[in-house]
């Protein structure tokens, strides 16, 4: 049951992840985003993590898988707003999430996605 809304803003799907995402919720989010991407093809998917206080190995891997899935569907995923405490914890856990692009804010994330689209055309 998805509690986070997916919004389409120009050529990007934006979702602000609610804190306290359980494992099932994370998988639901993954499915919802990829399905939405299939229905309304866009160039970018932006995931806002500014509300998330804990990202463990499951959520970390789910985000990574999501980025790979989005890539396969011809779009790019960008994660923004990760909290410092979360970033440090993830790195100590040994998860670097290399497949995900990151940006400091929603704005920069949108810029980043716009730039990579330009490069591809």
């Amino acid at each position: 049951m998805l509690t986070s809304a997916i919004i389409k803003v120009r050529d990007t799907l934006i979702v602000s992840v609610q804190e306290d995402l359980g494992d099932e919720d994370a998988l639901d989010l993954q499915a919802a985003l990829t399905q939405q991407l299939e229905r309304t093809p866009v160039n970018g998917v932006l995931i806002d993590l500014s509300l998330v206080h804990v990202i463990d190995s499951f959520l970390g891997r789910t985000l990574n898988d999501l980025a790979v899935g989005v890539r396969l569907l011809g779009a790019r995923a960008v994660v923004v707003g990760m909290q410092p405490a979360v970033a440090i914890t993830l790195v100590e856990l040994g998860l670097e999430l290399r497949r995900i692009q990151t940006a400091l804010t929603v704005e920069r994330g949108l810029d980043l996605l716009a730039r990579s689209t330009n490069h591809r055309l």
């Binding site: 440090i88 993830l90 670097e96 990151t102 400091l104 920069r108």
Partner: protein, 152 residues
């Protein structure tokens, strides 16, 4: 009475930590971190914590981490530096490592640590140059503009 003007041990520790590894905003969007002395786990953790917070506070996308003043770069130190790079990246900032001397470079090569994925430059100046490039900025000398004899 005395409690109000004497800083607590924790406050003192925080001050020392800040003085040890200052995070300086050298330009809009660029932070510099000159590291002096050895880097153990406690110091690395403290450094990462403050650096990441400054990244968010200032909205800086580029961090120049200067390790000229780090005497020994071994496997443990290299790992700490890589963690800093990874953590900053997760936030959306890029860390440029500068001040890696030739001796350190060869030590890392021998240890099998090629710091893949980390951008490095020899000096802070070179690091700044790259930072400006990435930000789409250019530094030009005023005198070159007076080519036709007029003042710049």
């Amino acid at each position: 009475m005395n409690e109000n003007d004497t800083p607590t041990i924790e406050q003192q520790r925080a001050t020392i930590a800040e003085l040890e590894t200052p995070v300086i905003q050298v330009w809009e969007g660029v932070l510099a971190l000159p590291l002096i002395g050895s880097l153990d786990t406690a110091r690395a953790q403290n450094m990462n914590e403050r650096l990441l917070e400054r990244i968010v506070e200032t909205g800086s996308e580029i961090v120049i981490l200067d390790i000229t003043g780090v005497p020994v770069v071994d496997t443990a130190v290299a790992r700490h530096l890589l963690e800093t790079v990874s953590a900053a990246r997760l936030l959306g900032a890029e860390v440029l490592l500068v001040g890696l001397g030739s001796r350190t470079a060869m030590t890392l090569v021998q240890l099998g640590l090629d710091l893949q994925g980390v951008t490095t430059r020899i000096t802070m100046a070179k690091g700044l140059e790259l930072a400006f490039q990435k930000l789409g900025l250019e530094v030009t000398s005023k005198t070159t503009r007076a080519v036709d004899g007029t003042e710049g």
